[in-house]
């Protein structure tokens, strides 16, 4: 094996310039592919993270009817059984957050708008999405607070500021009218435009009073210790909870439309990737083909000396894999610092582009993902490609007739 490896390795450097050009093409393609994927995955991660933080959480326990008909009438009571159940999985659950939310009409003197009014436990909610850092004006909510924490986008739409009073009007539990005047005690920047333009927080007690839904919740948000085990944890809770009354949903089920959109968007990137992979494949194939053609008589010599076809095929195969491995590793090494830089300093979009992205409800920034899968997926794809290309010389070596290549 050492002999074969030595021969393959030294053969690579017989034509240094050609080998370096091929390695560079692999490097460049891997670098570009990593950049594209990192940017795309980074945007998705950010989007999902924001949606999970501000909206759905990883797992929600709801009333069994709520998902089909999200009405205040289909709320649930956080009873002892559920508490016991959640305590049983204490090691797998980081924390849980109760919420009561419904749509309301919110009005100022001149403007009225439909918005989501969310009743929260301020301290527990802080664990989920530490909004204190994003407070633009005023203060964060306190337990039992009667004031409102309003999203900055909505405040701008309503042209309302700190200390202003908002009129809230909605439907309460079992058809009661929910109405009240509430002062704005804080303004928070919720980052994701779709949420930032439509959200008001108030303390859970105040919300339950407002909706006349004492002790009731629309959902309990459960945050797992390990978000990667969300589905397993949701499955366990679902198996044990009384399914006649409760429904357990994961963020993937709740954000189904967003995930579909991401998959669709990913298809466009994949087309670009395929073009890159084709470029890599042709470059590599050209080199491997040249390396074969110019060494036909050498192959005849090796056959004559008694080297078996399988060994010669292994040498040719290793040559293609070596070029790829060097190219892939170099591509990854070059891309790591670039990805790391943009991971910590996302590209901030401005002007028309920022506006266009904002209209879709997304943050106008291009964050990069530093997830290891961005790197090793490229390595694997290009390696599989090189293995496929490496099979060509293997095939040729097994088909080669000594007398054809000797003369």
């Amino acid at each position: 094996m050492k002999l074969l490896t030595t021969l393959a390795w030294r053969n690579l450097w017989r034509n240094k310039r050609r080998t370096l050009i091929t390695i560079s093409s692999v490097l460049f393609a891997v670098f570009l592919a990593i950049m594209f994927l990192s940017m795309e995955q980074g945007s998705y991660e950010r989007m999902i993270d924001s949606m999970v933080k501000y909206s759905t959480g990883y797992i929600q326990i709801q009333d069994v009817l709520y998902d089909d008909e999200p009405s205040i009438d289909n709320t649930m009571v956080f009873d002892e059984d559920i508490e016991l159940l959640l305590n049983r999985y204490d090691e797998e659950i980081s924390y849980y957050v109760p919420r009561l939310q419904n749509f309301v009409l919110v009005a100022t003197e001149n403007t009225t708008r439909g918005s989501m009014l969310i009743g929260i436990y301020p301290e527990k909610e802080k664990k989920l999405n530490d909004m204190t850092d994003d407070i633009v004006e005023g203060t964060y909510l306190e337990p039992g607070d009667d004031g409102l924490l309003i999203a900055e986008g909505l405040a701008n739409i309503l042209n309302a500021g700190l200390g202003d009073t908002l009129v809230l009007l909605g439907q309460g539990f079992h058809g009661t009218t929910a109405a009240g005047l509430y002062p704005i005690t804080g303004i928070v920047d919720l980052k994701v435009p779709e949420i930032n333009n439509n959200t008001i927080y108030m303390s859970l007690e105040a919300a339950q009073w407002f909706y006349a839904a004492d002790e009731r919740l629309t959902a309990i948000i459960v945050m797992p210790e390990n978000p990667k085990r969300t589905n397993q944890l949701a499955g366990k809770i679902s198996d044990e909870i009384d399914s006649e009354w409760y429904n357990v949903l994961t963020w993937e089920e709740m954000l189904e439309d967003l995930l579909k959109l991401m998959k669709f968007d990913m298809a466009g990137t994949m087309v670009l990737m395929i073009i890159l992979y084709i470029v890599i494949a042709f470059g590599l194939f050209g080199t491997i083909l040249m390396m074969m053609l110019e060494r036909k008589r050498e192959f005849a010599l090796l056959f004559s000396l008694g080297m078996k076809r399988s060994k010669l095929a292994a040498i040719c195969f290793m040559e293609s894999v070596f070029i790829t491995i060097i190219g892939v590793i170099s591509g990854i090494i070059v891309s790591i610092p670039v990805v790391a830089y943009f991971y910590h300093n996302p590209i901030v979009l401005a002007g028309d582009m920022a506006e266009a992205i904002g209209e879709y409800g997304f943050e106008p920034i291009l964050p990069f993902s530093a997830d290891p899968s961005v790197f090793y997926n490229q390595a694997l794809i290009v390696l599989v490609l090189s293995i496929l290309i490496g099979l060509y010389p293997v095939y040729k070596v097994f088909k080669m007739r000594i007398m054809d290549v000797k003369s």
């Binding site: 021969l7 008589r297 090796l302 004559s304 000396l305 080297m307 078996k308 000594i402 007398m403």
Partner: protein, 230 residues
């Protein structure tokens, strides 16, 4: 003298698109242990084809090649590779060495394929390079050697694994007079010292003058078989 190679009605016909070509025509020959034979003849007389057939590089259309008691004419390819590795040494006119290996590695190459121990292999390679006068060039790659030196490395490699016989296809064709004489001196000496059978195909009178047996092929058939006391 023990017979190493025996051919019986050895025939090779190439099916050219125009008309079949009989490159070797019913050749019956025996080569004894330690012989120094030159196969001569004009271009196209079948010298190289004959060497390819007895070296197991090509299959005969008819007839047989016996090496000791083994018929290699119909041997399976995988067995033939192994047979060549253990029994036959080759020296070609050009493309003789593996360019990415040093002189010592080239000489060790066959022994490496034979899975000899590293110590034995290195000792024998250095010894053979000394015998061909290249002890100073042990770690030099072929591109840094002259044509004559490259052929000497090829001879050292062919003999290093002590094969039953060595086939040399026009080994002096690309060499100047001094290098050719030098190579022939070495091969003659090793032929005598190691008692290895040498079979050359050649046009070169310098080789013919050294050979103790000269076989002339014309149109693939043996036209003359002479022995000399040299």
């Amino acid at each position: 003298m023990k017979t190493v190679i025996k051919t019986t009605d050895l025939t090779k016909i190439y099916n050219s698109s125009v008309a079949p070509v009989k490159a070797v025509d019913k050749v019956n020959l025996e080569f004894g242990e330690g012989e120094f034979t030159a196969i001569v003849g004009p271009s196209g007389s079948g010298k190289t084809t004959f060497l390819n057939l007895i070296g197991g590089l090509d299959k005969p259309t008819e007839g047989h090649v016996m090496i000791d008691d083994t018929d290699i004419s119909n041997m399976k390819e995988s067995k033939l590779f192994d047979f060549r590795l253990r029994n036959i040494g080759f020296v070609f006119q050009s493309y003789n060495l593996i360019p990415v290996l040093t002189a010592k590695e080239n000489v060790s190459f066959i022994m490496l394929l034979q899975k000899e121990s590293k110590a034995k292999m290195e000792k024998r390679a250095v010894e053979m390079l000394e015998q061909v006068g290249l002890s100073e060039k042990v770690d030099v790659r072929p591109s840094k050697l002259s044509g004559g030196q490259q052929q000497r490395v090829a001879v050292a490699r062919a003999l290093a694994s002590k094969p039953k016989f060595v086939l040399a296809d026009e080994p002096t064709a690309n060499l100047d007079t001094e290098s050719a004489f030098n190579l022939l001196d070495i091969m003659s000496r090793l032929n005598k010292e190691e008692n290895i059978t040498l079979i050359f195909s050649t046009h070169d009178q310098r080789v013919i003058n050294r050979a103790r047996r000269v076989i002339t092929l014309v149109d693939g058939a043996v036209s003359k078989d002479e022995t000399f006391d040299r």
